[in-house]
């Protein structure tokens, strides 16, 4: 029997937080990547380390959408749902496509699980008739896994924990994959524990062969490799791409990298990643709090390293005062904000785009700072690279905005060739300035940028600080006219960066038309898929996703002027749109907002566009 060929498949793995669904998801993703499909993923898990077992609250899910053509989102709905227990089913069934495939682990539907998921424990939830809309496969995964391990000397709990490997094996079989990448992973992970290694391999293979045995061939599908631009690809998550982007920027600028941070979800993984490279020349520093972190980074920049710091919303609040200091000092500083749902502690594991105006205005006084936002997991690399470039070349703090969805989501990423990246040139003292008798720390170049002169440089001793500085000399000044000039210069200096930015591009659609959808951050996939679909329906719609929010790219005005209406979807109450309205008062902007801790659906964007098209 030959498997049906499909363009794309979306799968959701859902189970209790202890069921290992994240691992199943990431392993399936890696395998998918190696197989050559394009894909997008969306992990979604509770805030607790081990949330209450069996409850809705404890459900951990991982969604992957893979295909033989360009994949932009994890999919509004999924083709396949694997539900390891009753709570997972309850949580996710609503988004399984009608006629989709539902796979359940019978063991997760006992009375206890039903009760915990607030079902009637007496009813037969798995009765076939209830799921007649779907393709429905019930498997007693837990006992099959245990059965497979009966020879192995592990306690029942440990055995039970391997059941996610069964799921993984089964699904890999279903999409015609081989087990190589997962086997390699298991070999490495359990190098020191042969028993666990054997157990995991065994259950993985049991799942893989189960499909055959249980005659599930009819569910097999083939999704051909995607036609990506030639090159070397890897699967990458946003936080990892961010870490690599910063490292690459430091390398290209020939600077030491110093990353100071205080752990906070969802930014911590950047610290974890950079800490791994301590022996290779990356310094990471876990500070006592976010204030100390940003301050340490400023100290490092003062000393001539690339000082960087990363956090999420509440931590941004704490860093605000010191970011403002860096602005006055005119030193490079990278500030990463991996946004999460607020306000206050909010929903720390959920995503949102609601720190933009905070990044823009979150400091006392007139304090303009460049803002750059990544718009996909892989794009974190380039976007943060640009953030570093601007910080270094313009001697300014730069705020880089990512978010929880980008941070943990992943996609295939074409590995960058270092040569293809723009150069980064720190502004050191020019030869002629070096000769000058009196050193003037606030003398500026044509971009209004002062030079970076580091302690240790002979005869250039100088003092900088947060008090207003005198033009050129940098001495403290309280003169009214000087303050006006310096305020103007600081604004102009940031405005001038626009000249150095890459042009804003159109991601989909024509250069002019009725509706332009402008997005930033994680909305890319939903917008792009919606626009592509409407383009197929011959609608006059286009899509632009902006990386550079402050300043805006110079050609943005032209792009906006080429469309009648502009839709601005955001996972907030309308933040970018406020900046656009002020900057481009003559264009017509329409807001589409959602604040639910989860990304837009393609359909939501589509509806909004159709609405505007009238």
């Amino acid at each position: 029997m030959i498997a049906e060929v499909k363009d794309s498949i979306s799968i959701k793995f859902a189970g209790d937080s202890g069921d290992g669904m994240q691992l199943t998801g990431t392993q399936f993703t890696d395998n998918t990547a190696l197989y050559g499909n394009d894909f997008a993923t969306f992990p979604n898990y509770p805030a607790e380390i081990r949330a209450p077992q069996g409850t809705i609250h404890g459900v951990s899910g991982f969604q992957i959408h893979f295909g033989s053509f360009e994949i932009n989102t994890p999919g509004d709905e999924f083709d396949v749902l694997v539900a390891m227990n009753a709570a997972a089913l309850k949580d996710s069934l609503k988004s399984l496509k009608k006629t989709g495939l539902l796979i359940v682990d019978i063991a997760g539907f006992d009375k206890k699980n039903l009760r915990l998921a607030a079902f009637d424990p007496e009813e037969d939830l798995l009765e076939e008739s209830r799921f007649s809309d779907y393709h429905f496969i019930k498997i007693d995964i837990s006992s099959l896994s245990k059965e497979a391990l009966k020879e192995i000397d592990l306690d029942p709990k440990q055995k039970d924990r391997s059941k996610n490997m069964f799921v993984l094996g089964l699904l890999l079989w279903m999409y015609g994959r081989n087990l190589q990448s997962v086997e390699d992973f298991i070999e490495t992970k359990f190098r020191k524990n042969p028993l666990l290694k054997e157990a995991n391999l065994k259950v993985l293979r049991t799942g893989f062969y189960y499909g055959e045995t249980a005659e599930l061939q009819s569910y097999k599908k083939e999704i051909k490799a995607a036609k990506l631009e030639p090159g070397t690809y890897r699967n990458i998550m946003g936080n990892k791409a961010t870490a690599l982007g910063v490292m690459t920027a430091a390398f290209k600028a020939n600077l030491n990298l110093f990353y100071a941070s205080y752990p906070i979800t969802p930014a911590s993984d950047i610290l974890h990643e950079l800490a791994k490279h301590a022996k290779a020349g990356v310094q990471s520093f876990q500070a006592e709090d976010e204030i100390a972190a940003v301050c340490a980074a400023i100290g490092a920049s003062f000393g001539g390293a690339l000082g960087a710091t990363g956090t999420s919303g509440p931590g941004m609040a704490l860093k605000s005062e010191a970011i403002n200091l860096a602005l006055m000092l005119e030193l490079p500083l990278l500030v990463i904000d991996v946004q999460r749902a607020g306000p206050s502690t909010g929903m720390p594991t959920k995503t949102e785009q609601s720190d933009l105006l905070f990044a823009m205005y979150g400091r006392n006084g007139e304090s303009p700072i460049p803002i750059i936002a990544a718009h996909s997991p892989g794009n974190c690399f380039e976007a943060v690279y640009w953030a570093c470039k601007i910080a270094i070349e313009h001697m300014t703090p730069v705020i880089f905005l990512s978010d929880g969805y980008l941070a943990n989501g992943s996609e295939p990423w074409k590995v960058k060739d270092l040569k293809d990246l723009p150069e980064i040139q720190p502004v050191y003292l020019s030869a002629e300035d070096t000769q000058e008798e009196a050193f003037l720390p606030y003398k500026r170049n044509a971009d209004l940028v002062r030079s970076w002169v580091q302690p240790g440089t002979k005869n250039k001793q100088h003092r900088i600080g947060g008090l207003e500085k005198e033009l050129v000399s940098g001495n403290v000044s309280y003169s009214p006219e000087n303050h006006q000039k310096m305020t103007d210069i600081r604004a102009e200096k940031v405005a001038l960066i626009a000249k150095k930015l890459p042009e804003q591009t159109i991601m989909a659609g024509a250069k002019s038309g009725k509706v332009l959808v402008i997005g930033w951050g994680n909305t890319t996939g939903a917008i792009k898929s919606a626009v592509l679909e409407l383009l197929k329906e011959a609608k006059e719609v286009a899509h632009a996703q902006i990386n550079f929010i402050h300043p805006f790219p110079e050609n943005l005005a032209n792009i906006l002027n080429s469309f009648d209406k502009i839709l601005v979807p955001e996972l907030n109450n309308g933040q970018l749109i406020k900046l656009l309205k002020v900057a481009f008062p003559n264009n017509k902007f329409y807001a589409l907002n959602k604040i639910q801790g989860i990304p837009f659906k393609k359909s939501e964007i589509k509806d909004a566009i159709l609405n505007l098209l009238g």
């Binding site: 631009e229 030639p230 490292m247 020349g281 709090d289 920049s301 000393g303």
Partner: protein
């Protein structure tokens, strides 16, 4: 740089000094400049980092690199600089508000990490720059702008706080004792690790005379205990008093009634002795206040910092990852 090549003047910047006439900060500035010149430090390899406060204007007056940062954060900024620049001689200048109030957390964490910097705490027991509010080191009942009925809060025992945080070098001096201050500054600079030096500094305007007991030469004799390693703990009008242990408890005695061996001989490397000096002698009214190097321990093996640059190959491997694939 050869010792003796530079003079104190070479460490003075061209900026006008903006402290009030009579402020203790002038004297400290002078001693620091003198000591740096004496020790043969170069101007360009020396960095002063401060927070905000009268004391924190210090860096402006030094012809070295410097940063006048934000309130309370000098220690954190200096930590970043220290970790990335092993070559520099780094000084932190801070006030009792700057480091013991808003900056308390960075202070204790700096001491915990024991990074190699010199921290000079100008303690005037008041907020000078903001025109006279009480600080966490202000004496009980002190009347200030924010305590019109007298300060109701207990003051920190400054040395005890630092000792508790794990400081590896704890010393105290006073603005008015030029020679002592110089000596202690030299030792502060020599210690490898976070050196904590508290300097009693008179705020002529808002808290004048709060240290009179230690600055006035005759009062000083009975109220100040100048510690020297290997020497007994003596003080008094005619150096006739000494401190001695009665069991575990320090007691003031007449020096001549005991032989030298029976007296308490100062040993700044003795942790237990330091603990009693700092927590008992220095905190109780019936004892004199400690001056000099109270405690000093050898540098621990704390976090190593060997900044270097990424190699291209390492980076390329990392970018590619272990599971990449080729699309042709």
């Amino acid at each position: 740089m050869q010792i003796g090549e530079l003079t104190a003047k070479d460490f003075a910047s061209d900026q006008d000094l903006r402290w009030c006439p009579g402020c203790g900060d002038f004297a400290i500035l002078k001693q620091v400049q003198t000591v740096l010149a004496k020790l043969g430090h170069s101007q360009e390899d020396t960095v002063f980092i401060s927070g905000i406060g009268c004391s924190s204007r210090f860096p402006y007056y030094m012809n070295t690199y410097g940063m006048h940062s934000i309130h309370g954060r000098a220690a954190a900024i200096a930590s970043g600089l220290r970790l990335t620049r092993e070559d520099l001689n780094i000084w932190i200048v801070t006030g009792d508000g700057d480091s013991m109030s808003i900056g308390g957390n960075h202070l204790i964490h700096l001491l915990r990490r024991d990074l190699n910097v010199n921290l000079l705490l100008f303690n005037n027991e008041i907020y000078g720059l903001t025109k006279g509010q009480y600080s966490p080191t202000s004496k009980k009942d002190l009347i200030t702008k924010s305590s019109p009925y007298g300060n109701q809060e207990r003051a920190f025992d400054t040395l005890a706080l630092c000792f508790g945080a794990g400081a590896s070098f704890i010393a105290r001096s006073i603005d008015r004792e030029a020679k002592h201050l110089q000596e202690i500054l030299i030792q502060t600079n020599e210690h490898e690790g976070s050196s904590f030096l508290e300097i009693y500094q008179n705020c002529h305007i808002f808290n004048d005379g709060t240290f009179q007991n230690y600055s006035d030469r005759s009062l000083q004799k009975i109220n100040a205990l100048f510690l020297e390693d290997g020497k007994p703990l003596v003080f008094g009008e005619h150096q006739e008093l000494a401190i001695k242990l009665d069991g575990l408890n320090p007691k003031v005695v007449l020096k001549d009634e005991y032989s030298l061996e029976d007296l308490w001989i100062h040993d700044s490397s003795d942790r237990v002795k330091a603990s009693i000096l700092i927590n008992e002698v220095d905190t109780q009214e019936n004892f004199p206040k400690l001056f000099g190097v109270v405690y000093k321990k050898e540098k621990l093996n704390t976090r190593s910092n060997s900044p270097n640059k990424l190699s291209e190959n390492y980076l390329l491997d990392l970018l590619k990852g272990s599971n990449s694939w080729l699309v042709k």
